[in-house]
Point group: C2
Chain length 203, copies 2
DNA sequence: CTGCAAGTTTGCACCAAGTGCAATGTTGCG
DNA sequence: CGCAACATTGCACTTGGTGCAAACTTGCAG
């Protein structure tokens, strides 16, 4: 799921990627068309041109395939900058940058990914839960970032709280973008989202 | 799941409640002892003294039973007060009261419930997904509260953002309580949790 | 107390998700 | 070509979960 479109590491690997993409594509199309429960793994496998058994060689569960969720990794350069107290030095501003980086990592190479995933999640609340759980799995990655940063530029509070704020920020921006007709870039909504949150806790 | 220990509405109903409690208890004990995947519904049913089929008359899924997550309902009196702009009139203070009400509704009659659920989620990340699903299911209930309140005492921002803040507050308080050795009442940690969140967004 | 109606439990048959295993194909490479 | 590594597949099996209808419990009216 990282942004390396041209990994020339063998023909075999490329085929594998193509298959995975085909599965995700088939899964998403079918689920959007007929609803999650009405689509069986068998149907997805058939649409992707593989056997049902092979489906599970690629994804651990139907949910994973539908959300197309591999693992994500934050850009190493950005990570270094953030833990060193950057990029701007003001925590709130850096929070926004971090949230943007997260959104980028989620989207992967496909700019349409957030739209499709949002649509899916609206149609199938079940998947929202899965999506959050996936976030939770990567929570440590974000929390570590804050812990390291704390050493050189002390945080106003503990890393766990900072992490939660970042995730809320991501979610709020996504909601905002969705409410605004999904125009333009999700990250543009980050400042407004942060302002809204601040308005509540400072009321 | 509401806090009415002595609902004298029929003997039949009492029996039903007792069974449900027995199922949750059996499920939690077994899962904490052997791990989620090693415990079958059949085993839980047997431990609770019912047939496997009856298990599904009480809970929609194994996950629901393990988390003991029925539906919750906020106290009607409190709801009325909150939408009327109460109880204190200061939004942040009222947010804390709302969060406390949520924690109460979740815990139900058993004060140990939050501890067990936290422990379960730490041991079985799988359950996180379900926990979030539950959150999402009840999000509307809380959001409606804010929408109604807005009519008589305008909010600084939209109901959706307020709702997210409340849930983060709940979560943060729970974390805090957990970090402090799970002493005393979770709700005591709410003010500190709110302060921490404010510290981040105001940095 | 009797008997009926409504609600509950349970067994049974069934579908779908997911796993382990072993056979069968494919692919890359010396 | 031929072999070793890897990928696909079929098959049998476990488990979660549902629909249905029969049996049983319980509350209540007469």
């Amino acid at each position: 799921m990282n942004a390396n479109p041209v990994d020339d590491i063998g023909l075999r690997a490329r085929k594998k990627r193509a298959r995975a993409d085909a599965i995700v594509d088939a899964a998403q199309r079918l689920v959007l068309a007929h609803g999650f429960d009405a689509v069986t793994v068998e149907a997805i496998a058939e649409a992707a041109g593989i056997s049902p058994r092979t489906f599970f060689n690629y994804f651990e569960s139907k949910d994973d395939a539908v959300l197309g969720q591999g693992s994500f990794d934050l850009d190493a350069g950005f990570r270094g900058e953030f833990v060193a107290g950057g990029p701007t030095g003001r925590l709130t501003a850096d929070l926004e940058v971090l949230a943007a980086a997260l959104l980028g990592a989620v989207a992967g190479s496909d700019p349409h990914a957030p739209a499709r995933v949002l649509e899916l999640m609206q149609a199938e609340p079940r998947l929202l839960a899965h999506h959050f759980a996936w976030f939770e799995r990567h929570k440590n990655q974000v929390e570590d970032l804050f812990t390291e940063r704390h050493a050189c530029r002390p945080l106003p509070t503990d890393p766990a709280t900072c992490t939660m704020v970042v995730f809320v920020l991501v979610r709020a921006a996504l909601d905002d973008w969705d409410a605004g007709g999904r125009q333009g870039d999700v990250t543009e909504h980050l400042p407004a989202a942060l302002a809204k949150i601040a308005a509540v806790v400072n009321a």
